[in-house]
């Protein structure tokens, strides 16, 4: 369980997913792009069901709303792709995150950061690094490395006769 113990300020990027505000460590953010053509990966994990072209690189696109069991909505004019670097099996991997809206990069001083409460949240506490207070709101700072961790990738898109698993 990720517990926030680092008593120092954090620079974060804030964004909205399904009306809920979240924050990401700004140092992990590579760039923010307008929504481009997304290629679906049949048989891929549900929340990682797309691929996008980021400057000539093929980058997986994650929809965290599915990971957090939120109902996905069609993209709007505010929809953005946040390109981040995730530590995956010891290697930095570039991943795109779908965000309903991206707000700002802001500094969260150490005193407004609190450990993640174990109960009372709609999403799984291990995905949240800490809770920060910003302009009167509580904002969950995401633990992106945990979110993309191998163990949680099993769930395949809710489709039938998908060939992904019978490779052997």
């Amino acid at each position: 369980m990720a517990i926030w113990q680092g008593k120092r300020s954090l620079e974060v990027l804030t964004l909205t997913l399904q009306g809920e505000k979240f924050a990401l460590e700004a140092s992990r953010v590579q760039e923010i792009l307008d929504l481009v053509n997304v290629t679906e990966v049949p048989g891929g994990p549900a929340f990682l069901n797309g691929l996008v072209n980021v400057r000539g690189k093929v980058v997986p696109l994650a929809d965290l709303r599915l990971k957090f069991e939120m109902a996905p909505t069609p993209p709007t004019i505010d929809t953005r792709i946040v390109v981040i670097n995730v530590l995956l099996e010891g290697e930095m991997t570039t991943v795109g995150l779908l965000a309903d809206k991206v707000h700002e990069v802001t500094e969260m001083p150490a005193e407004v950061l609190e450990d993640t409460p174990k109960i009372g949240m709609r999403w799984r506490p291990e995905f949240i690094r800490c809770i920060g207070k910003h302009s009167g709101d509580f904002i969950a700072v995401l633990d992106i490395d945990r979110i993309f961790d191998e163990g949680d990738r099993g769930a395949v898109a809710g489709q039938t006769n998908v060939p992904a698993q019978d490779a052997a």
Partner: protein, 658 residues
Amino acid sequence: MSGGDPTDTFRQEAQELLEQLEQILLDLARTPDNPELVDSTFRALHTIKGSGSMFGFEEVAGFTHHVESAFDLVRKGKVAMTAALADIALAGKDHIRNLIERPESADAAAGQAILARLEATVGGHGAATETKATEIPAAAAPEAAKAHWHVHFRLPEHALATGTNPLLLIDELRSLGTATVTPLLDKVPPLEALVATECTIGWDIELQTEKPKSAIEDVFLFVMDEMDLRIEEIAAPKPAAAPAPAPVVAAPPKPAAKPAKTAAEVLKSGSSIRVPAERLDNLMDRVGELVIAQSRLKQIAAASQDGEFKSISEEIERLALELRDTTMGVRMVPIAQLFGRFRRLVHDLAVELGKEISLTTSGEETELDKTVIERLNDPLVHLIRNSIDHGLESPEQRQATGKSAQGHIHLSARHTGDKVLISISDDGKGLDRARIRARAEENGLVAPGAQMSDSELFQVIFQPGFSTAQAVTNLSGRGVGMDVVKRTLDALRGSIDIASTPGTGTEITLRLPLTLAIIDGLLVRVGQGRYVIPLSAVEECVELPHEEEGRASGRNFLNIRGDLVPFLRLREMFNATTPPDKYQKVVVVSANDMRVGLVVDQVIGDHQTVIKSLSKLHKGVGTFSGATILGDGTVALILEITHLVARGQRERTMKLAS
């Protein structure tokens, strides 16, 4: 990556030298009486010793010195070259490599043991091994009268840069006897044109010595290849009056000899440069992106009415494709590099297993992408071990079945189309079908009584956990490995075929694409998504017959010229939601001599594809081998044909069984 650390350069060079040395020693083990090989061994050892001590690898230099001394004795004919000595030298070579690569873990005792063996083999000259190479002739040469020699030498201009010191050469000559040295300044340019780092001086030396001519030649042993050297015996002893006319005498033959040499040198130095593989990878990436950008341009040009624009687009297309081919050519290396390593493997295994094995190779000049070659090493090692351990019988068994005691392994490589075939064949006992079958049924890999062709049955060997070896040896039989071979080959978009005749041997053939970076693909549309099928796998495109279209899945077979070909509806596999096109097409693809049809909505056309691998997040998706970026910037997935064919064939097997 490559910082300015000079020891890295040494390591790299030493690695190459050691590889060369290994090849030479292996040759030497077979033909011990080849003096050229002995000389090459000596030279390689000497260079390792010299640059080792220059870069502070004292232990390397110290150890190498002993081995070098032993070979010096061989070179001088004092000790006979034997296969046993070559073996010890091979062990020595391994120790040197350890000393260089893992100095902290290198075992000093092991080094001592090798030296002791060396001492024992070199025998009575044990003491002499400790003496410096150049001193040996002094002690041993039974020369009587002093002879007079005229030595004329001129070093290549870049000699100083490569570490040759002419003064040391002259000193060494002086140590042989009485020498009168005259510098030849005729080639020295005027002061303003003088380059201080170039050696433009030549030397004439009158030498009185009792040593033989070979002793003089030895002085120049390490520079002889590139320099201008003449050693002549002068009949009458002449006083030191000669110096003045000497330059005049020496001058005429030079201009004739020199230009030819420099031309050769230029060619030699221009023939290859060392480039970090990383830079080549970057270059390949850029070229890949250029090809993508170019195909976008081509699309726009095709829609344009502007003739000039079109012709420029065509020009760029031609250039981009040429550039791509050239760049790919740069990454190609001959497979000889890889085959060379296996000689040692076979040699060691033969000793270890007490089998007599000869290894022959063909097609070493066949070129393959560097990455492919590197990744092929482990699978090939495994296959060769298998052939030697399981395939080849012991000498007694072989003789009992009327074969020669010596087993034979043949490695070959050749091109066919855009593939490279690498085969490993042995003349051993062949695969035991009954045992493979029994084992496969035991492990539940094959349904009892199922009909299978030989090639289908042999594919079972590549299943994880499969092994028929009765005894687990150090080498094989633990049931790991063959599946790893298969997986590596799959990752390289290659395939494996096995052909085996009981009693006469087995041949394993690997089929590999020439390059990993770019493929020709067939672009198709399924629903709204576009996918790339590797063109090399495509056999033909046909229209899906109307009567098939309406049928429910479960009876998905086409009759193509009398052959039953299963097909997969990609729309179903990829959950296409849009209404299907009226005329569905079937792209027939093949892999491992099996065919399967892929039903798509539309065949768009051929497409140059730069392969981008999928991230780790999608590694569980077996249907796709990678992705590519289309002309409009959209990502398209590349279909993994082996996977799809296997899927189709399973349905076929199920149908035949029912």
